[in-house]
């Protein structure tokens, strides 16, 4: 491949396509057409951010974890605790503090568990999420325990925009947060650092052989992912003004893994599709019959795992490729 052809290849690989903006256009129109669905849409945006953070691990770094909710929970509880116990209700700094703390926890945790692989890694992350959940449960003097942490008061943003009961401020706040995370994620995975992470995923020993410091890079990407997960958790706390034990549960870890798998890991936009479909379907079906919903969800998850690897994104890509022929 000539130098010019290689540059074109790189351009095609990393350049922004027009369709990448569609999720934001759709979300921007939403307040005008479906006001009643704003709280659901806000929840979806928060889960998109959380799923994006997991995509960085599962899709780009090839690290499967059953305990990512630990860091969502750390972010969520930090944001709640600063407000309830610390009396500090400024939103943006709350998000930053929470993301920093869960990122630091992620670096610490990652540098311990990333030395293991496969089954042991899964078991360590699984034990961690049960441990975190039990700590949140027992430390009720600070976390509120089973009852959850309520009475969270977030001051109006920039002193002007109060969080109203219709959820417009919360929605725009979450959307802006998603935009920031998306720009960062897109930049990160297309950067040389992001490419080296993908190289480690594809062939660990070859990556080490060409001089990539495997473990330190994985720890860094783990920390970044945990910071984003904590950011999503803090966002949820501020918008719904409550933190419950579910924020740091195995259940949530499994849910987010399912959302990512349905959307498709390793492509950023799978993390957009998954939560939309999962939460919209849950909202629609689970109201009438939660058990039937669980049955269908199980069937879909099993089918995706068995037959549709790469989720919806892979399916869309295949359809696009075959229609282009």
């Amino acid at each position: 491949m000539s130098a010019a052809a290689f540059n074109t290849f790189l351009d095609n690989k990393h350049r922004l396509s027009w369709w990448e903006l569609t999720p934001f256009l759709v979300l921007a129109i939403l307040p005008f057409v479906a006001r009643d669905y704003l709280p659901l849409a806000t929840q979806i945006i928060i889960y998109i951010i959380f799923t994006l953070s997991l995509d960085l691990l599962v899709g780009y770094a090839g690290i499967v974890t059953l305990g990512h909710a630990v860091f969502f929970g750390i972010g969520a509880y930090t944001a709640g605790i600063i407000s309830v116990r610390g009396g500090w209700g400024e939103g943006l700094s709350g998000l930053l503090i929470s993301a920093t703390i869960s990122g630091a926890a992620g670096v610490l945790f990652g540098s311990v568990v990333l030395r293991t692989a496969r089954f042991t890694l899964l078991m360590l992350t699984l034990s961690a999420v049960f441990l975190a959940n039990e700590i949140a449960n027992k430390a009720s003097w600070i976390t509120g325990g089973v009852d959850g942490l309520s009475g969270i008061d977030i001051w109006p943003l920039f002193g002007i925009f109060a969080f109203d009961m219709f959820g417009i401020t919360g929605f725009i706040y979450a959307l802006a947060a998603l935009l920031v995370v998306w720009i960062f994620m897109r930049w990160l995975v297309h950067s040389p650092f992001g490419q080296s992470i993908a190289a480690i995923r594809d062939n660990r020993s070859r990556a080490a052989a060409i001089g990539i410091a495997v473990l330190p890079r994985l720890v860094v990407v783990y920390g970044i992912s945990c910071a984003i997960a904590g950011f999503a958790g803090a966002l949820q706390t501020q918008v719904i003004q409550f933190v419950g034990l579910k924020a740091a549960s195995f259940e949530l870890s499994a849910d987010v893994l399912i959302m990512l798998a349905i959307g498709g890991a390793g492509r950023i936009y799978g993390a957009f599709l998954g939560p939309v479909i999962y939460l919209a379907a849950q909202d629609y079906f689970a109201k009438d019959d939660p058990v039937l919903w669980q049955l269908w969800l199980g069937l879909i998850v099993m089918a995706v795992a068995t037959f549709a690897r790469g989720g919806l994104m892979a399916l869309l890509r295949r359809t696009a490729a075959s229609s282009a022929k």
Binding site: V58, G62, V64, L66, V112, V113, R115, T116, A117, R118, F119, T120, L122, M123, L124, L126, S127, A128, F130, L131, E134, I135, K138, F250, A254, L257, I258, A261, A265, V291, L292, Q294, L295, L297, G298, L299, I300, V301, M302, A303, V304, A305, T306, R309
Partner: protein
Amino acid sequence: MQLTVNIGFQALAYASVLYLMAVGLSVTLGLMGFINLAHSVFAMTGGYLAAIACGNYGFPWYAALVAAPVFVGLIAAGIERALYARLYGRDELDQVLFCIGFIFITGALARMAFGPLQRPIALPNELATTISAASFTFSTYKIFVIAIGALTALVVLFSLERTRFGSMVRAAVENRGMAESVGLRTTLIFTCTFAIGGALAAIGGIIGADLFPINPSYAFDTLVYVQIVVAVAGLGTLRGSFISALMIGLIQTVSGYFFPEYGTILLFLAIFLFLFLRPQGLFGRPGVN
């Protein structure tokens, strides 16, 4: 003294149940590298079968204890051929998702068929008594549970070490490619061991119904305990499960007696530290994960 004996006794009973529920799992992991988070589904199926057979149709308990596991073993073999076999050699994500989906489906089916409440399995009268020896009092039922656990462990060990089938299983775990090239049909061996593992889990589900109540979320409730037995025992070993179940049973029982508030925290902290210091587990070989 009284307390020590009591704790040891409880821990043994707990360990027996855990061992039965987990022993099949180390084979799934060791032989096919399959991360089967859904193994407890077979224990749940056994529990439900026994509860329905005894509760609704007046089946004798001992008969259910034999018939239900046989039935579950057959189901497990079918499911292994039809579903699990498609995911051998896939990455962890696919296997984990598959298992979560499987747990969801069975949980939903159990709820539709048997309702959300837990199903007790009534014990025969002679087991619901206590036995006194010197100044100690033991529950007959727990003695029975320990006896079954110990017996199973002995039979499993004996058949692994002293029978033809056992040496075939060991060969396949040790080096699957080599085993195949000397003419062993590893897929058949695997289906058989998977079925036996499912049947043993079903026994565990039935006799452990007082520790882990039979209800639709059973597979999720027990998931972590069953998995950590295997993680602590180590992969590629088929003997460590009993000792690892005993350790976990001991930690659970001791912390349950002395610090009931912090039992779960202590358990997971201990597991976490242990796996960090010995990622290969008690008897696993380094690098086999």
